[in-house]
Subunit: 234 residues, 2 copies
C-alpha cells in the first residue's frame, strides 16, 4: 500500500496520465434459474493485474469484473457484474476511454427463458432441455463502435489449440487492434494459476512473449500500451 501510495503521488510523471482505461476481468455467470448458473474457470487474476498496472502507469482506470476472489486493485474504480449483458452495459457506461482491454472470459451464450423458480427434478423424468441465446459480443461491439470507439482496443483469445492462427483470425473478425492469445489447455495451469504464455497479435506482427507471471504480463502490456500512445502524433 505504501508503494502504491508513492506511485499514486508521483503519478503525474507516469506515461498514461491523462488517459482513461477500461478493463474487463473474471468470468461471467449466466443464470439457469435462481440457484443454478453456467460459469467458467477464469480467476480474474490477469484482468485485475492489468487494471492495476494501467492505474500505476497513470491511467484513470475502471475495472468491470465478474465474480472472483481477487481483491479490488488500489486506485481502480471497480464495477461488479454477473452476466455478459450486464458487463456490456457497464462497458458502455464507462466510455469514453482511450484504452479498452477485454480480459474477461465472457460466456458466448446465455440460457434463454431463465426459469423464475428453481427447476425441480421430476422423478424418473427427462433432464431439462436448456435453450441458449447468443450473448452480445462485447469485444466486437466496442471495437466496431462508429462513434466513441476507444483508441486502442485489446482482446484476449483463450485457446486450447492452434493458438496463434486462431488469434490472428479472431483479431480480424472482432475488429480490435491487438489480440493476446493465451494457452488454456489442460495442464498449463493458466486458469487460476499465476503464469501465462502470451502471443501478442497486432495488424502486422506476432510477438511471442516468454512464459511470464500474470503480474509480468500486466506490466509488459501496460508498457506496450504506453509506447503505443507515445508514438502517436500529439
Amino acid at each position: 500500500e505504501i508503494v502504491a501510495a508513492i506511485e499514486a503521488y508521483f503519478g503525474k510523471d507516469a506515461p498514461l496520465v491523462g488517459r482513461r482505461a477500461l478493463v474487463t476481468s473474471g468470468p461471467t455467470y449466466e443464470a439457469i434459474d435462481p440457484v443454478r448458473f453456467i460459469g467458467n474457470r477464469s480467476s480474474g487474476k490477469q484482468g485485475h493485474a492489468i487494471a492495476a498496472a494501467l492505474s500505476r502507469a497513470g491511467a484513470e482506470t475502471t475495472l468491470i469484473t465478474g465474480p472472483t476472489a481477487e481483491p479490488a486493485p488500489q486506485g481502480v474504480q471497480v464495477v461488479r457484474i454477473e452476466s455478459a449483458r450486464q458487463m456490456l452495459a457497464a462497458c458502455q457506461d464507462a466510455l469514453p476511454v482511450d484504452i479498452a482491454v477485454f480480459a474477461a472470459a465472457v460466456a458466448d451464450w446465455r440460457v434463454a427463458g431463465q426459469a423464475p423458480q428453481k427447476l425441480k427434478k421430476q422423478e424418473g423424468g427427462q433432464p431439462p432441455r436448456l435453450e441458449f441465446a447468443e450473448n452480445p459480443d462485447i469485444l466486437a461491439t466496442i471495437a466496431r463502435l462508429a462513434q466513441g470507439r476507444p483508441g486502442l482496443v485489446i482482446g484476449f483469445a483463450a485457446e486450447t489449440e492452434n493458438m496463434v492462427a486462431n488469434a490472428v483470425a479472431k483479431r480480424a473478425r472482432k475488429g480490435c487492434d491487438w489480440m493476446l492469445a493465451n494457452d488454456v489447455s489442460t495442464g498449463t495451469g493458466t486458469f487460476g494459476g499465476d503464469a501465462n504464455t502470451i502471443h501478442l497479435v497486432t495488424a502486422d506482427s506476432v510477438e511471442d512473449w516468454p512464459r511470464l507471471t500474470k503480474q509480468q504480463v500486466a506490466d509488459r502490456l501496460a508498457a506496450r500500451i504506453a509506447e503505443h500512445f507515445r508514438s502517436l502524433p500529439a
Copy 2:
C-alpha cells in the same frame, strides 16, 4: 482458535464423542468443457458450520465439500471435490459413520459427453446443444444402503415454494430420517447469506425453527442429533 482448542481438549465430555459423522457442503461443479461448468450458488456456509458444530460436540467428522471460499473448520477432516460423482465416491470412502448430513447443493444433472477441448463459437452458428445425464442421488444412495447405512441420515431440501409439503415428500422419497427444508427463493438471502429459516421434518413431526443464523442452525442441529443418540437404547 483458543476456544476451539479448549473445546477440543474438553471434548471427551462432549455428547457425540465416539460417534463418526460425515457432512457434505457447498456446490458441485459439472464440467461442460475444460473451461466451462454448471455450478450453483451454494456458499458452503451452512454445511461447514454443521461440520464444525458436530466436531465441537465430539464427533469424528469428515467434511466433503465442493468449491467454496469457506475456510476448513478446526478439527475436521476436509475432502475437496468438484462433481457429484466425485462427491458420492468420497462419501462412500468416508463410511462407516453414525451421522450423515447432506448439506451440499448437488447438481441433479451432469453434461453427457463432456468436450475434451474448449467448445468454439462458430460465427453465425447455432448454440451448442448440451445433453444431460442424471447424476447419482447421493442422499438416496446412502440412505438406502442395505449394509452400512448411517444410523441417522439427514438431508436438506432447498425450496422456493411449498417448502414443507415438498420436504415431507422428499424425505419419504429419499429414504432419509430427517429432512431440513429451507427457503432459497429470491430475496431471502439464504444463498451466500448468513441466516436460514428451517423446518425440520421427521417421520412423525414437523418442527418450525425461527429465523436463525447458519451458525445457530448448526448448533441446534448438533444438539438435536446428540439428543437423538442419547434417547437410543444403549
